[in-house]
Symmetry: none
Subunit: 181 residues, 2 copies
């Protein structure tokens, strides 16, 4: 929108970023309000700016807390039936532990917090990640092939541009992974 296309990445210039934040924040909240009213939906939006300031919207006439309460309760178990407090404490502890465990694994998988690992561990990790990368690239190639095929079919119906689809494809790929070229 506006005088030029904007690529989807953090705006580096702080002034521009602040101006855009202000405009788009207003736009987002307006859209949320329209959607809530037009379609009779309940909506909650929370925005924290980079500097930590909070902005929120909740569809009238409910308070935002209600929306979030529903969110918190939506995928959860019914605790009404639970009577033993001990049970709760036990379950919480278990979940907390599992959570921490997952976080640690996750961080190591992302290449952080490797200090406690032995050479053997790091090596195993490396191989696992190599395999992940292999699978992800496989999937990416599938999607690219699919995309290419679609564009090719589209081009078939637009004579005169038959030689351009590869250019489009390449430029698209470049936008997705500029670092690769």
């Amino acid at each position: 929108m506006g005088r030029g296309k904007v690529e989807l990445k953090k705006i580096e210039n702080p002034t521009n970023r602040q101006v855009t934040f202000s405009k788009r924040r207003m736009g987002l909240l307006k859209k949320a309000n329209e959607l809530a009213i037009l379609c009779d939906a309940q909506i909650g939006v929370i925005i924290f700016s980079g500097t930590g300031k909070m902005y929120e919207y909740s569809s009238p006439p409910w308070r935002i807390a209600n929306t979030f309460d529903r969110y918190l309760k939506a995928p959860s178990t019914r605790f009404e039936e639970m009577d033993v407090q001990q049970k709760i404490i036990h379950e919480m502890t278990r979940m907390k532990d599992e959570n921490n465990r997952l976080r640690i694994i996750m961080r190591q998988y992302m290449g952080d917090d490797l200090a406690s690992l032995t050479l053997q561990d790091v090596s195993n990790l490396e191989q696992q990640i190599e395999f992940s990368l292999y699978k992800v690239r496989l999937r990416k190639q599938q999607l690219l092939d699919q995309h290419l095929l679609e564009m090719h079919h589209r081009e078939m119906h637009i004579p005169g541009e038959q030689n351009n689809y590869l250019c489009h494809m390449v430029s698209h790929m470049y936008k997705l992974s500029p670092g690769l070229y």
Copy 2:
């Protein structure tokens, strides 16, 4: 937008309402994502349709819980007013959700369950994993250097085997990463 201006009131025709809901919901989430990325903000959006179905967005790379944590901790919310049991329920639910979320992310990070990701998502994932791999290899090299140094020092005290430590090292490295040689 579209072929005619719409006044800001509930769309009475259920079919039109549903279609508009679907379109605008997507639009809203897209805008939220753009704002989060362009302006480096943390954003959470929850939408309940009139029929009670829930949709949500949280600023990348994942974890709506984070945004809501900050909301709940923000000064002067209803959280303070809740009784202890309520707080426990909230906390348990939050942990459970976070747990599920971590598992999903983990699986995607390991290159499984990629079917739901777009080309863009897969591309981002690929770059993240590449970076992880880079960090892990960096750490591995550190450990190898360290190991090498230790062996070298040891050799200094055992004359007669001075020319063998490199052979040991190479064979050790080979055992760790046979694929590399």
